[in-house]
């Protein structure tokens, strides 16, 4: 072996499309469905919230591994997913901060918080996976030769190239 590197994930604002793709993959795999448009503005979503009835618990989790920028990076964006009575909104504000908001009827705040934290972790893991596959293909001549997921939900990849 030559060396071992450990890298902490950091979501960069320009990679929002990768977050969208990662979130969709994770939530659909967990049985959620995207609500109407995949991405819509927060202003539109607020109107929808006001028209809703019933008692709903709601928790919001700010994703920590995000590179925040001092200037605005464009409009706020939000993805909405639903599974039975649970709704998940993943949003990005104008400074690039990412939030996961989970709401639902018949669930305690603790349950919703646990679900939100699990989702946030899975989205980051999927984001890292997508980034690695895409960028390593683009920037190196290494090929993905193996991939697997273990019982602890770690993703394992093996990339290989041949030196002349």
């Amino acid at each position: 072996m030559s060396g071992i590197v450990v890298v902490a994930p950091m979501i960069v604002p320009a990679a929002w499309p990768v977050v969208v793709s990662a979130a969709s993959a994770v939530l659909v795999a967990m049985g959620f469905s995207a609500v109407e448009e995949t991405v819509r503005t927060i202003a539109e979503e607020k109107v929808n919230l006001e028209t809703r009835t019933g008692v709903r618990q709601e928790v919001e989790i700010e994703v920590k591994n995000v590179e925040e920028v001092s200037s605005t990076i464009g409009r706020e964006e939000e993805m909405v997913f639903r599974k039975e009575e649970v709704e998940v909104r993943i949003s990005r504000d104008v400074r690039g901060r990412v939030r996961v908001c989970v709401s639902g009827e018949g669930h305690s705040k603790a349950e919703l918080k646990e679900l939100g934290e699990t989702l946030a972790g899975k989205v980051i893991q999927q984001y890292v996976y997508n980034r690695l596959i895409e960028e390593m293909k683009k920037r190196t001549n290494m090929e993905l030769v193996e991939q697997s997921i273990d019982d602890d939900e770690n993703i394992h990849l093996k990339l290989r190239s041949w030196e002349d």
């Binding site: 060396g3 994930p9 030196e163």
Partner: protein, 67 residues
């Protein structure tokens, strides 16, 4: 031909551990930097014995005593 390999583990929190082999020296370090650039921020890098293969290290003793 020799194989160059990277074995990557992505934890459920997204932390990446990359085991880089077959590169040697400077190329290994460059690959580690590329992984960090793609994923986020480098937490640590531990080179091992193979890391130093292919690099020439010269040790020179200079005796400045004049007789």
């Amino acid at each position: 031909m020799a194989a160059r390999e990277i074995i990557i583990e992505i934890s459920p929190e997204g932390v990446v551990r990359g085991d880089i082999s077959g590169f040697g020296g400077k190329n290994c370090r460059e690959m580690a930097k590329l992984l960090a650039e793609i994923v986020g921020e480098e937490v640590s890098f531990d080179p091992n014995s193979e890391y130093f293969q292919g690099e020439v290290h010269l040790g020179v003793d200079v005796n400045t005593d004049e007789h």
